[in-house]
C-alpha cells in the first residue's frame, strides 16, 4: 500500500486538508493517508484521513518545528511513507526543510502543480519570482517531500475515510524556541475567504477608497497589487500574488492592474475576472471575461452610482 503523511497546520486547517487532493494527484486513487496534528482545534476535523496522529502538546500548542520533526521522523521510521506533504505556511516552511535534511531526502518548496509523466512524478513551482516555472523530479530513495502553496488544490471533493485516532506523546526534551508574548493585530480580514475581490493597482492608486466602496456594495473585500502595497496605500495582508496571497474568488475585479506574472500567479483560480485598464492589451486582459477599456476612477464612479441607483429602486 502506498502511504502518505500530511502535516496539519492548526492555523490553516483548510489548506492542510487540501493536501489530500495533492496526494491523490501524486499517487492515483489508491493510497493510505495519515495526518499529524500537534494542537487542539476549535472544530473537529472531518473524517478524511485513514489515520490521525494527535500529538498531545500542552494547550498552547507547539512553537518549535524541531519538536514536530522528531515526531514525524519517528513515524516515518516506523511506517515508511512514500510521500510527506506539508502546507507552505510560515511554520510548514520551517518544518519541511528540517525534516527533509534529517531524512536525507529531496524537498521541493511551495509547489503549485503535480503531474506524472510515464509514471514519473514531476512537481512544478514558480522560480525566479514567478517569471519561470520549474519542473522538478526527485532523485534517490525518497520519501518525496514537498511544501504545498495554500489555496492551490482547493475545492476538490474529499473522500470519506474511516479515521482512526492515534494519540501520541510529544518528545519531552523540549525545543529551543520559547513563545514570550502574542499581540493580536488590528486585522482587517483574510482576502482568501472572500468570494468577491475588488483589487486596485498602479492605475488606481488614487481611487482606493472607491475600490473599498465598490467591494462593500458587492459584499466583497478590497485587495491590491504589490504596487499599491509598496506605495503604502494598501496593507501587505491584502496583497494578491506570488509574494502575497493566492486567492480563488468567484469574482475578481482588477482596476489599473497590469498583470505581471507575479500577480497572475495569485489569481489563476478566480472564476470570473473583469479588468479595467486604459490599455486594453495589458497582460491581465487576456485572462479576463470582460475587459473595460478606460479610466479606472471614472469606471468606479459610474458603476458605484449604477448599483446605488438599482438598490434605491428596489
Amino acid at each position: 500500500m502506498i502511504r502518505c503523511l500530511i502535516y496539519i497546520d492548526p492555523n490553516e486547517t483548510e489548506s492542510s486538508l487540501d493536501l489530500i487532493e495533492a496526494a491523490r494527484q501524486l499517487h492515483g486513487d489508491s493510497f493510505e493517508v495519515t495526518g499529524v496534528l500537534c494542537s487542539a482545534l476549535d472544530q473537529p476535523l472531518p473524517n478524511v484521513f485513514d489515520r490521525l496522529a494527535v500529538v498531545a502538546y500542552p494547550e498552547s500548542g507547539c512553537v518549535d518545528p524541531a519538536q514536530v520533526v522528531d515526531t514525524m521522523q519517528a513515524m516515518h521510521w516506523k511506517d515508511k511513507y512514500q510521500s510527506i506533504l506539508i502546507p507552505a505556511t510560515h511554520f510548514g516552511r520551517m518544518l519541511a526543510p528540517r525534516l527533509a535534511m534529517l531524512l536525507g531526502t529531496g524537498l521541493v518548496a511551495d509547489i503549485t502543480q503535480i503531474r506524472r509523466k510515464d509514471d514519473v512524478v514531476e512537481v512544478i513551482r514558480p522560480a525566479y519570482s514567478g517569471s519561470l516555472m520549474a519542473c522538478i523530479r526527485y532523485v534517490g530513495e525518497g520519501p518525496m517531500m514537498m511544501s504545498v502553496r495554500p489555496n492551490v488544490f482547493r475545492d476538490m471533493v474529499k473522500e470519506e475515510r474511516a479515521m482512526r485516532i492515534m494519540p501520541m506523546q510529544p518528545r519531552t526534551s523540549g525545543g529551543g524556541i520559547e513563545r514570550i508574548e502574542v499581540k493580536p493585530k488590528q486585522i482587517s480580514y483574510d482576502i482568501r475567504e472572500s468570494d468577491v475581490l475588488v483589487s486596485g493597482g498602479g492605475g488606481a492608486a488614487k481611487s482606493f477608497a472607491k475600490i473599498e466602496r465598490l467591494a462593500e456594495l458587492l459584499g466583497g473585500k478590497a485587495s491590491a497589487s504589490r504596487k499599491l502595497v509598496d506605495a503604502g496605500i494598501a496593507p501587505r495582508s491584502i496583497q494578491v500574488g506570488q509574494s502575497g496571497k493566492t486567492v480563488s474568488p468567484e469574482l475578481y475585479i482588477a482596476l489599473g492592474i497590469n498583470g505581471a506574472i507575479q500577480h497572475i500567479e495569485g489569481i489563476k483560480q478566480a472564476k470570473h475576472i473583469i479588468s479595467v485598464n486604459i490599455n486594453k492589451d495589458a497582460p491581465l486582459t487576456s485572462l479576463s471575461d470582460i475587459v473595460v477599456e478606460g479610466d479606472a476612477d471614472r469606471f468606479l464612479d459610474q458603476l458605484i452610482r449604477r448599483i446605488q441607483q438599482y438598490q434605491q429602486s428596489e
Binding site: H90, R93, P97, G106, M133, E178, E181, G219
Partner: protein, 264 residues
Amino acid sequence: MKLICLVKFVPDVGSAKYDFERHTLIRDSAHLQLNPDDVCAVAFALKIKARHPETIVEAVTMASARVTPNMEDLLRIGVDCGVILSDPAFAGSDTFATTRVLGRYLSRQDFSYLLTGTHSIDGDTSHIPAQLGALLNLSQMSGVQKIDESLLGQGIARFDVESEQEITTYQMRKPCILSLTRESGYKLPYASRANLEKDFSAQIQVVSNADLGFLPEEVGLTGSKTRVVETYVKRLEQREQRTVRADESGVEYVFRFLTDKGFI
C-alpha cells in the same frame, strides 16, 4: 561576539533577460545584487557592531568566485571578513547539497548567532536556514523582525515575528539561527570615502573542496536529491472575452453581468 551572515547574491530579476529558446535566465546579463532579506541580516549585524565595536561580522556565501566584487562591497561597509565557498564540485547543488557544504564550513566555526534571510528572490525556497538548523542542531526561526539588541550580549535572542493575525515575540538561546525578512527594515550603512578606494581582497577567503573534503558524489549535481528537468515561461490561458469601454453602455454591460451572475 561573533555574528556570521549567510548571504546570497542574486540576479536582479526585474532586469534579467530570458533565453526563450532554452527557457533559462541569461545569468550573465543579470546584474547581481545582495538578496533583499540578506541585506537586512547584514544591516542588523553592522548595527550591532556599530554599538559594540568588539563584535566580529563575517559574511559567508557559496557561489562562484565571480561574486568577489560583491563581497568586497560588504567589506567596504564594515563587514570584517568575507568567505566564498567555491569549487567546481559544488556546481549544480540543490538546497540539500548546498546545506551540506555551508554546514560543514559552519560546523568548524565559532559563532554566537547565524543571521540569514528568510527567502531569496531567485530560488525562494527558504530551505537553507532551516536545513542548517537540522544539520547543526540549532534552533532556527524565519520571518524575524525587530530583534531586541539589549539581550543579545547575554546570549538571548528575543524578536518579533509578524503573521496575518498577530505579532508573536519568541526567544531562543545562542547559538541559534535568525532568518530576517525585508519587513524588518534594517538598512545598510554607506561606505566611508576612505573605504571606497581601499583594496579589500586580502580579507576575502576562498574555501574550496580541498578544505572541506567532500566526496564528489556528496555534493554538486550528483549529491542533489532533486533535479530541475524543465523550465518554461507560463502561457496564459485565454478566456472567452468581451471588451467594452468605460462609458455608460460599458458600465451597463458590466452591471448586467454582475446581476446575471448573482453578485448584485
